[in-house]
């Protein structure tokens, strides 16, 4: 399996994937730094803002492009007829490709932290002692953002359309997710969407520890909060449901 993953990385040589994702990761921290400078925000505020927008609004779109390239590569260049007689199983290959997407998601998230640190230095507020914890959080959020994107990846892989179409699809999916997570307070805590969609789930977990709050503020959001264990269970279930569908979607539709 490791072999297959290494091969997937070898296949994308010269495609500037990593560079592209790092550049994309810097997209949000830049305006956020300006915003933070104006509003006298501290480093934690800046980090949360950049992570929130970067990982849960932009990253799914970035991952949709990466998915298109990775999953459609063999269909485009006709190398499947050289791979299958090796033999390589289609399922294992789909897993290897997902692993590459996960790694890129985490690289993006960590690069976002890097950009935010530069922003922090610029606005004159950076808490060095928090960096290890924030690094850990960035990795976890990279993972969760990837898992949150899985449902739309099924559609992208199955429909096998252009990159533009795929990004649009991912953008619509993410916007719905993101808006609901963002305006969570406007919905009752037991609203079905807050328990069904992945991004609101992440927010309901993250909101409990990510931000320093006044007691009355905490009381207000309290009914929305979920524990890490619940969040973990949700994502395990989501993954268990999505992976078989992705494998199904990556099979050729006719032969």
């Amino acid at each position: 399996m490791l072999n297959l993953i290494l091969c997937e990385f070898a296949k994308i040589k010269r495609q500037k994937f990593i560079l592209f994702s790092i550049l994309a990761a810097c997209l949000f921290p830049i305006p956020m730094t300006v915003l933070a400078g104006k509003d006298r925000m501290d480093f934690t505020g800046l980090f949360n803002l950049a992570l929130f927008f970067g990982d849960f609004l932009l990253l799914p779109c970035v991952l949709s492009i990466v998915t298109c390239i990775l999953f459609f590569m063999e269909r485009e260049n006709g190398s499947l007829k050289n791979l299958l007689p090796i033999p390589v199983s289609r399922t294992e290959m789909a897993f290897a490709k997902l692993a590459v997407i996960l790694v890129i998601s985490i690289i993006y998230s960590v690069a976002g932290l890097g950009a935010t640190m530069i922003g922090g230095v610029i606005i004159g507020s950076i808490y060095w002692h928090q960096i290890p914890a924030k690094l850990g959080l960035s990795v976890v959020m990279g993972l969760l953002a990837f898992l949150s994107t899985l449902p739309v990846l099924i559609a992208i892989i199955r429909l096998n359309k252009s990159a533009i179409f795929s990004i649009l699809l991912a953008a619509v999916y993410t916007l719905v997710n993101f808006s609901i997570a963002y305006m969570m307070g406007n919905l009752p805590p037991d609203h079905i969407l807050l328990s069904a969609l992945p991004e609101p789930i992440v927010m309901r977990w993250w909101a409990g520890f990510g931000v320093e709050r006044t007691p009355e503020n905490f009381e207000m959001i309290r009914p929305y909060l979920i524990s890490g264990a619940v969040c973990l269970r949700y994502f395990l279930l989501l993954t268990a449901i999505c992976i078989p569908f992705i494998i199904w979607a990556s099979r050729p539709q006719e032969d």
């Binding site: 072999n3 296949k11 050289n82 033999p87």
Partner: protein, 307 residues
């Protein structure tokens, strides 16, 4: 009788309403080169794809080393090297990088395998040129290198010399021939060019519109189709004796009581007729058959001009 390595039994593939391969049963024997000959669209590629388990047959089965490929592909496929249709590689990688990926996936232990394979097809090792920048012939050479890299026992090559220049064609032909004669590899190759097949193959299968028209050894096919003098006479036994004694050749074949085929074309027809008539044999018909394999191929596929 040689052991059969690849065997298809009533193999059929239907696309939509069209039967691309129909009830095809071929037998590829160990250590021999089997040429699948057919015009464009005859079903050669489809057959090979089914043999390699790349497409599911509509009916029938494929046995390689006596085992069903659909069931035991994991065990059988690593022993095969293949090249199907146009070469399919990663355009953003060099030839060497491409082969390294396939070598790694195959688990080829020999570190020199990639370099050797490239050497065999005359491509430079660790060249900077990307596959996207390769010429047609270079792409084809890379595909051949990929097929032989892991030193397989069986090679399945779909139009292996497609796109190669004449020198390249001769090189690849020699190479395939050597694989068979020196290393005892079994080769199944396809072509729409008869001369190509007749230069290489030991056995030939002729396929047209998905149907196998003929399966024979090249020698047998040659015998059927070489040029000969067709003689219709009153007594073939006596004729045979006369030819043997007076003309000193035994290169003929008695078809029946009244017809005989003389394969020795050095004999002048007038002298032959005179000899027979003078010895009291009545001659009804004498003509030279110019059936080349190509005519034969055209005739049995029912078409003109083979591209």
């Amino acid at each position: 009788m040689n052991e059969i390595i690849i065997e298809t039994n009533h193999l059929t593939k239907v696309y939509g309403t069209q039967k691309s391969v129909a009830d095809l049963s071929i037998h590829v024997r160990k250590g021999r080169i089997y040429g699948l000959l057919g015009r464009n669209g005859a079903g050669k590629t489809t057959t090979m794809r089914m043999i390699l388990n790349l497409t599911t047959p509509t009916a029938g089965e494929v046995k390689i080393f006596g085992e069903d490929v659909r069931k035991n592909g994991k065990r059988i496929l690593p022993r095969i090297g293949s090249l199907i249709e146009s070469p399919g590689f990663y355009p953003n990688l060099t030839g060497t990088e491409n082969l390294r990926i396939f070598a790694r996936l195959r688990g080829v232990p020999n570190r020199q395998a990639v370099e050797n394979a490239l050497g065999v097809v005359g491509l430079p090792y660790q060249d900077k040129k990307l596959f996207a920048e390769y010429s047609m012939g270079m792409k084809q050479r890379l595909a051949i290198a990929n097929a032989i890299m892991h030193d397989p026992e069986v090679l399945i090559l779909d139009e292996p010399v497609n796109g190669l220049d004449p020198i390249g064609i001769a090189e690849v032909r020699d190479f395939i021939k050597r694989l068979s004669t020196e290393q005892g590899k079994t080769v199944l190759l396809s072509s729409h060019i008869l001369s190509e097949i007749s230069m290489l193959a030991d056995d030939i299968g002729i396929i047209d519109q998905g149907v196998l028209l003929e399966e024979e050894s090249l020698a047998e096919l040659d015998r059927k189709n070489s040029r000969y003098i067709h003689l219709a006479v009153s007594d073939t036994a006596q004729t045979a004796r006369l030819i043997e004694q007076s003309l000193g050749t035994t290169n003929f074949h008695i078809e029946d009581d009244h017809t005989l085929r003389l394969y020795d074309l050095d004999i002048a027809t007038n002298a032959l007729v005179r000899l027979l008539v003078e010895n009291g044999i009545e001659v009804f018909e004498v003509h030279t058959q110019n059936n080349t394999l190509e005519d034969y191929f055209k005739r049995i596929t029912g078409g003109e001009g083979i591209a």
